[in-house]
Symmetry: C2
Subunit: 115 residues, 2 copies
């Protein structure tokens, strides 16, 4: 069974590459810490911790994906920026979904394009 962590990033915020990478990393670290000790974390690490970075075009689209995750029982880790650079404090920049199986994630993030 395939495992992955999907991170959806807001494309509408026009973050720099470095800022984008830092936000995605933040989401991945939070997801890892929140899944500590779980079988799904162990399975994902065993698989080489595959990550897929996808794009949403608004906060509303990010929240819609989070609502689908809640319905599907998929874990979410939302990042709110600290506001030190580029963005206002509290701006929701990205969200990690999982780590979980490909099958569990498909209805949640399967329609989102790669970043």
């Amino acid at each position: 069974v395939g495992q992955k962590l999907v991170i959806a990033v807001r494309g509408d915020l026009r973050m720099s590459i470095g800022k984008t990478a830092a936000q995605v990393a933040h989401a991945a670290v939070i997801a890892t810490l929140e899944a500590a000790g779980s079988p799904r974390l162990a399975a994902w690490l065993e698989a080489g911790q595959p990550k897929v970075v996808v794009r949403v075009l608004s906060l509303e689209a990010l929240e819609a994906a989070m609502a689908r995750a809640a319905d599907a029982g998929v874990a979410t880790s939302l990042v709110a920026d600290a506001g030190r650079t580029e963005l206002e404090a509290g701006t929701k920049t990205c969200c990690a979904f999982g780590p979980d199986t490909d099958a569990a994630l498909e209805p949640v993030t399967g329609d989102l394009p790669l970043l």
Copy 2:
């Protein structure tokens, strides 16, 4: 005392934004797992897990930074790509330094420009 995790990415590989973000996230997750249970991880998480993404222009420059880290006693987490997309398997794409104090990281990555 300021805490951070610095991730240095190879700019010469011309990775896409999504690929870059996934590699940086990979480095950050490895660094977090390798620091599990340590005071330096706790201090960094307490500080809001600040991350700085910087650029090197060659594998040699990345390895030079890793040598400086070894001299300074700073932890490194090197990412070798799995080769599923864009790159050949085993390509060294980025490396995390720390998490550690700003002072410990300054001689290691202080001269590298932001990505």
